[in-house]
């Protein structure tokens, strides 16, 4: 009787385990298939339009965007990310250093961390609205590269802060003890051990935040984007950007071909960005552990 009950239980466990394995396989295959399908779909629809002229020329034709290319949008997106990063990366890393190495108040840390996590998940249009109200209207920066870049920095800062803070916390506490016990200062430890040790994770979080910001149209639509430009990059002038250009081409039903072409370029930039960081991380871990 006892043996039979055991056998039934064992069979039930086996069935549960197999069902779970099937579920995990399906989820895994979908996880790979869905992004692959999206990229393939964009590539099939966007590849025919790609050419050197498309990558370098400004938009042309009537309505605007049915001809020419997306050269100024590529430049504009890169400029926006550069400005966003130059504000957000140092600020977030310093804030993470403060919170993980210097701040002694646990309650303050919990408070800061909670709000940073909330901000990291705020929809990007809210950053756009905030950037518009604060930078464009209140500080009178006008719709410009600077206003758009700072708005993107607002959006990236909590993401980089949370990721960097997490990687600092994950860095072995024993490592800190070993360094400080040699009589060196906290700053020396941060410079020589903590930052080199966590550099791959920091790079990853910076790239993820940048790629996410680069693909967002909402924050810059109200603060820094323009429909057409000859490609002049100036802080006080608005710029074209890849996501806002897609938004314009599709929203105004101008050209789906050009929209897919732009989307393919944007996805390509994101893929190459991630691959670049992957390579850097691999090289770094291989060399320095």
């Amino acid at each position: 009787m006892v043996d039979k009950t055991r056998e039934v239980r064992a069979n039930q466990r086996l069935i549960t385990e197999r069902c779970f394995a099937v579920l995990v396989w399906i989820a895994g295959i979908l996880g790979i298939f869905i992004p692959l399908y999206i990229i393939t779909f964009i590539t099939i629809n966007g590849a025919p339009i790609l050419s050197w002229a498309f990558l370098t020329l400004p938009p042309a034709g009537f309505p605007l965007g049915t001809g020419g290319g997306i050269g100024p949008a590529i430049l504009g997106s890169l400029a926006l990310i550069t400005i966003g990063l130059s504000f957000s990366a140092p600020l977030s890393i310093l804030a993470a250093i403060f919170s993980s190495q210097y701040c002694t108040s646990h309650n303050f840390l919990v408070f800061v961390r909670f709000f940073a996590e909330v901000l990291a998940s705020v929809p990007s249009i809210i950053y756009g609205l905030f950037g518009y109200a604060l930078l464009v209207v209140f500080f009178d920066l006008k719709i410009s590269l600077l206003a758009g870049g700072i708005t993107i920095a607002f959006m990236m800062t909590p993401v980089i802060f949370v990721g960097t803070h997490e990687s600092f916390n994950l860095a072995n506490k024993e490592l800190q003890q070993a360094a400080i016990s040699l009589g060196v200062s906290r700053l020396f430890y941060i410079r020589k051990v903590l930052l080199p040790k966590t550099l791959p994770s920091i790079l990853t979080v910076i790239v993820l935040a940048s790629m996410n910001a680069m693909g967002s149209a909402a924050p810059i639509l109200l603060t820094g984007a323009i429909v057409n430009s000859i490609g002049e990059i100036r802080l006080d002038l608005p710029v074209m950007s890849l996501p806002s250009h897609i938004f314009y081409l599709v929203g105004e039903a101008v050209s789906f071909d050009h929209a897919f072409g732009t989307a393919l370029v944007l996805v390509g930039v994101l893929i190459f960005g991630n691959m670049g960081v992957g390579w850097l991380k691999w090289r770094y871990i291989k060399n320095d552990g």
């Binding site: 072995n172 003890q177 360094a179 040699l182 009589g183 060196v184 051990v193 080199p196 320095d288 552990g289």
Partner: protein, 270 residues
């Protein structure tokens, strides 16, 4: 500040003429946020001698040595409650004492060898370049000299610029020792330095400890009763945060005064 602690602190047998003390603990109480771990600790560690600290797990051995170079205070909420630790007669917990300088003078080796994300040479020089001015050429010579002391120079002659994490456990522990020696300490604390090593690497480290004791004062926390007997000149036995007996190692092992000491070294209590 200049209060001197003599070596006649009634902690060792009356017949024993002790050498001069390097580090003395006086009525020391210490602990963590919620609980006290060390109770009324009085101990003396002698110059150029090896002192082992023995005791069951959780008795406060590691806390005791982390008090000795002010690394305990790196843990939030932990620290000394009362009492003094004297290095050459000066209280290391005096408000005027620099914790960084104390940690330079009293180096510590941990149970798990921790290497920094840098090359072997950079690891050796980590503390040295912070405390001393060394030219580029001097740096390499300095690192090689200290690697030589721990017997790693010839082993690693062609790998000096390789990442330190590629070394074996025993080599990493010797590298950590070289890194501490390069800091020019007066005292070396060792928190179970051989517990993560295989017997061959352990033997190597033990020989090294014996050699180093000619130049440095060494305090070693160990679980390994046989190791304490093999290498140390003096032994301290602890239980429940208190020192139950301290004396010359031969006396502790041959004629322990306390029943608890006898039971511990016989393996009757763990």
């Amino acid at each position: 500040m200049d209060k001197k602690i003599s070596s006649s602190d009634k902690v060792f047998s009356a017949s024993h003429v002790a050498p001069s003390p390097a580090l003395s603990l006086n009525k020391l109480n210490a602990g963590y946020k919620e609980r006290q771990v060390l109770f009324n600790i009085n101990a003396v560690f002698y110059k150029n001698k090896i002192t082992s600290i023995l005791g069951p797990s959780g008795c406060g051995k590691s806390t005791l040595i982390s008090v000795c170079n002010r690394t305990l205070e790196l843990i939030p909420g932990a620290g000394v409650i009362s009492g003094n630790v004297f290095l050459n007669g000066n209280d290391i917990y005096d408000t005027a004492a620099s914790a960084q300088l104390i940690r330079k003078k009293i180096g510590i080796i941990f149970q798990h060898p921790i290497t920094f994300p840098a090359s072997i040479v950079e690891n050796v020089l980590f503390g040295a370049v912070y405390h001393q001015k060394l030219t580029r050429q001097e740096r390499l010579d300095y690192a090689r000299h200290h690697l030589g002391i721990v017997g790693l120079e010839t082993e690693l002659i062609n790998r000096l610029h390789e990442p330190a994490h590629k070394l074996s456990g025993g080599q990493r522990q010797r590298l950590c020792l070289a890194r501490t020696l390069a800091n020019q300490p007066e005292i070396i604390l060792m928190d179970e330095p051989c517990s993560a090593l295989d017997p061959s690497a352990m033997r190597h480290i033990e020989e090294l400890i014996k050699t180093l004791s000619k130049t440095y004062t060494i305090i070693i926390v160990t679980h390994n009763i046989a190791q304490a007997r093999r290498i140390s000149d003096y032994t301290i036995v602890m239980t429940n945060g208190r020192i139950i007996e301290q004396d010359q190692t031969t006396k502790i092992f041959e004629k322990p005064k306390r029943k608890q000491t006898h039971e511990f070294i016989e393996g009757l209590i763990g």
